[in-house]
């Protein structure tokens, strides 16, 4: 299953992204991991890379931070919502934040395409059950 999952990380904290990449690689050494410290660039990548791609068996997990200077995670999700269904069908979203408050948890529950909201550090055990294979 090692190459059947890819990752996109959107978090303004570059060090977190290095740690996440390491944690993912321990389990999926061949996973394609794209990390972005600027959410705008992450969204741009998603739009470009996935509109050309046909639906595939490969899962893509988006790890999304909430508290970022130019765009919050919730704003990223609002823009994401406007993307085509074909793109959205290919991506599973996990919110990954350094501290969670109750309101964020409630909001995550009712936000489409968000599978779960997790507290840092990233734990792969919380993500594995949602993978297809």
């Amino acid at each position: 299953m090692s190459n059947l999952v890819n990752f996109i990380i959107i978090d303004d904290d570059a060090i977190n992204n290095i740690i996440c990449t390491y944690t993912i690689n321990e389990l999926f050494p061949e996973a394609d991991i794209q990390s972005f410290t600027e959410p705008e660039k992450g969204l741009e990548y998603i739009q470009k890379a996935f509109s050309e791609r046909e639906y595939s068996e490969v899962d893509t997990i988006l790890l999304l931070d909430l508290n970022m200077p130019t765009m919050t995670g919730w704003e990223v999700l609002q823009s994401y919502e406007k993307l085509s269904d074909q793109i959205k069908e290919q991506i599973k979203i996990f919110i990954l934040s350094s501290s969670l408050d109750r309101r964020d948890k409630e909001r995550a529950k009712i936000t489409p395409h968000v599978i779960d909201i997790l507290e840092k550090p990233l734990s792969m055990a919380k993500i594995l059950p949602s993978l297809n294979s």
Partner: protein, 376 residues
């Protein structure tokens, strides 16, 4: 017989004496007292305090009823007739109502009184009303309520601020913990190890930075009464221009200032300096490439307010998407310009500490206008 008469005489005298004492007390009591007919509300007797408070002559007050010395409608909005009849009925049933009542004096001026009704055994046809003007107390209470509301808001702001700071500390501290655990428990190449150690270093610096910001912000949240002094807008502008000289030489902005309406203001000078500094350096930083940056600063004086207007022809901010966050801590609106998202937060915090307010108007690729208001 004789003996009896001798004994009785002092008793009658004693009673008369007592009555006189009570009468004197009634007449000079600090509270206004009315005695009214329990059925009609007509005023039958009153003391000096009542005359003084209601501004009537004795002869005129005798012709008045409870309705005449009350405003037509009470504070609750209910008509006086309706509310008074309930109070009279309750007193008739031996209750002793204590209530706030809008009283009107002979000149037609309304004021709030605290009033008590009582009935006395053996004198069931009368109602005793005692009351005093509590308008001043009510005003103080309203003032107190306003202060409490302000404190509550401040408390809420501080709470939010504490949450934000703790969140911003948890991020880098989480990184340090995770990176240290990886180095400790995993076999890493030398190169990878150095990556994580660098990560720890950068995260530790980040913690230090957040704590320093925290200190600066807490400092700006204090209202330093003693440090108020006369600040001249033109002097402050010159100081700020001097400290921004490098950026000014590079960007060559046209800075136009007009402080002809008012050039002085008693305030916390260092805060005002910081406001000028942040707003002007923002205007330079977020200038539009290809045009001459213009910055216009103007002071205005209205009846109760002093206004400062800062206007530029820079990049502007999209307020439709960023509206509420413009003054937020660690918020940024331009991807390709460096900044840590503290300038406008500090501006707002310091203006509020000076007792003022700030608002923004902005349009992308047109410019930005800040309006600062202080009560004069």
């Amino acid at each position: 017989m004789k003996k009896n008469e001798i004994e009785r005489l002092p008793v009658a005298e004693h009673r008369k004496n007592n009555e006189l004492k009570f009468r004197l007390f009634f007449e000079s009591a600090p509270e206004a007292i009315l005695i009214m007919d329990a059925d009609t509300g007509n005023i039958i007797n009153f003391n000096n305090s009542a005359l003084k408070l209601l501004k009537y002559t004795s002869a005129k007050l005798f012709k008045k009823s409870f309705k005449d010395i009350s405003a037509p409608h009470q504070l609750s909005g209910i008509s006086t007739i309706e509310e008074a009849s309930e109070l009279f009925m309750a007193t008739g049933k031996w209750q002793k109502p204590v209530f706030e009542w809008l009283v009107t004096d002979s000149a037609g001026t309304d004021f709030t009184c605290e009033m008590r009704f009582t009935k006395v055994a053996g004198m069931e046809n009368y109602i005793y009303a005692s009351f005093s003007n509590i308008t001043e107390r009510k005003m103080l209470e309203a003032e107190k309520d306003q202060i409490i509301a302000g404190l509550k808001q401040r408390n809420k702001d501080l709470d939010q601020f504490a949450n934000l700071i703790s969140h911003n500390l948890r991020g880098p501290i989480g990184n340090i913990t995770a990176a240290a655990m990886i180095i400790n428990h995993r076999t890493l190449t030398e190169e990878k190890k150095i990556d994580f150690i660098k990560g720890i270093e950068r995260s530790a610096l980040k913690v230090d930075e957040v704590l320093k910001d925290f200190h600066v912000i807490m400092q700006a949240k204090k209202e330093l009464e003693s440090q108020k002094e006369t600040a001249k807008f033109s002097d402050i502008l010159n100081d700020v221009k001097a400290s921004l000289s490098e950026q000014i030489i590079l960007a060559k902005p046209v800075i136009y200032a007009d402080f002809s309406e008012i050039n002085e203001f008693i305030t916390i000078k260092s805060y005002l300096h910081s406001v000028f500094y942040n707003l002007i350096s923002n205007s330079i930083k977020y200038r539009r490439i290809g045009i001459v940056p213009c910055i216009e600063i103007k002071s205005r004086k209205t009846d109760h307010k002093i206004e400062l207007i800062f206007r530029d022809n820079g990049m502007g901010i999209d307020l439709k998407t960023h509206g509420e966050k413009v003054f937020g801590l660690y918020k940024r609106f331009h991807l390709n310009v460096e900044g840590k998202g503290m300038g406008l937060y500090m501006v707002k915090t310091q203006i509020e500490s000076m007792g003022g307010s700030i608002s923004i108007q902005s349009e992308v690729d047109k410019g930005t206008r800040f309006k600062i208001q202080f009560t004069a």
